[in-house]
């Protein structure tokens, strides 16, 4: 069964077991229309492989980049995406919503 909750967390554990450093991104807040609900997970490993999603694909690239940095530094980071974002053309949300994402390394 595809368990949307368990799947990214299981992948984290698999990567960890094979000696890879990993991070977890979680949607912690949304305003307006947003493609994935609060609580959605994106798991990332040090090679940039990922599982799950925090949007319909609009912001995954930036979140993965932030996850790789969090893996390096060990510090969690809060990200904000929306139409008012400076990088709107690059990673903005076509749906017009705003998303807050929390990114943490697994230690």
């Amino acid at each position: 069964m595809l368990n949307v909750d368990a799947d990214p967390l299981d992948r984290l554990a698999e990567w960890k077991a094979s000696g890879k450093n990993t991070a977890l991104a979680t949607v912690v807040r949304t305003w307006g229309s947003s493609p994935r609900p609060v609580g959605s997970h994106l798991a990332v490993n040090e090679d940039g492989d990922f599982a799950g999603s925090v949007s319909g694909g609009c912001i995954e690239g930036s979140v993965i980049e932030a996850a790789l940095k969090a893996i390096e530094s060990g510090d969690p980071v809060k990200l904000e995406f929306g139409v008012t974002n400076d990088m709107a053309w690059e990673v903005g949300l076509a749906c017009g919503g705003t998303i807050h994402v929390y990114v943490e390394s697994i230690q």
Binding site: M1, L2, V4, A6, L9, K16, L24
Partner: protein, 230 residues
């Protein structure tokens, strides 16, 4: 997140135990809250623990207002009980699994279960009343009967009506359904009880094939659940 906490969280999810991971998004401290108690480096004030516990009960994730605390609730999986290992079940079972349901197919006819190629779902070959007693439908369970056979459908529907199942559907034409309601009424169910049964089953999308009918049933199940929460 500490890997020990991740392992504990995955254990709770696998055991279908409702729990919440609470994160202070300002400093990264976390704790896992479940019915066993609280575990982790985040020291949660009593009022916030109460709020997190309430959010687990409501199956709602989110931030606690005026704080940096984020509560991620992991509820037990939704369940779907399909009575009848028929052609529609072969389509409905994998579709429902993709939508996040734990699926159980109930059919005492071994040959149907074998023919149904339902290798990935749990199949019970008990009689429906015994099978339903094992499954114990709750408020996170949907029940749909697909056999057309009153001997199998009726006892399953009766058990579903005595449970908190959030969705009860039964395959059959308007005529078949009307007769079914008369029989169940004779068993003592009220009109209010019987209103819970969706029949003819599924959203009206003019479905013809077994797979299309499965789409209409699954759509109705999702609509019932999401509308109730909205």
């Amino acid at each position: 997140m500490k890997v020990e906490l991740l392992d504990k969280l995955r254990g709770s999810i696998a055991a279908q135990q409702a729990c919440a991971l609470v994160t202070d998004t300002d400093n990264g401290q976390q704790c896992l809250v479940d019915s066993d108690g609280v575990d982790g480096d985040l020291n949660l004030a009593k009022e916030y623990l109460q709020q997190a516990t309430q959010m687990i009960a409501d199956d709602v994730s989110g931030q606690i207002e005026q704080t940096d605390l984020f509560v991620r609730v992991y509820g037990p999986a939704l369940r779907l009980v399909i009575v009848g290992a028929v052609h529609i079940s072969q389509a409905l079972a994998p579709m429902a699994q993709l939508a996040g349901f734990n699926v159980t197919v109930l059919d005492p006819r071994d040959a149907f279960v074998r023919a149904g190629r339902l290798s990935d779902v749990s199949a019970l070959t008990d009689w429906p009343d015994e099978g339903m007693a094992k499954v114990k439908p709750d408020s996170r369970t949907a029940v749909v009967t697909l056999t057309h056979d009153p001997k199998l459908d009726d006892p399953a529907l009766a058990a579903a009506l005595r449970s908190d199942a959030f969705y009860i559907g039964s395959l059959g034409s308007k005529r078949t359904h009307a007769k079914r309601l008369v029989r169940l009424k004779e068993e003592g169910f009220s009109d209010l009880d019987l209103d819970r049964i969706r029949g003819p089953v599924g959203l009206d999308i003019k479905a013809k094939t077994p797979a299309e009918i499965a789409v209409s049933i699954l759509s109705e199940i999702v609509a019932t659940r999401r509308r109730a929460a909205a």
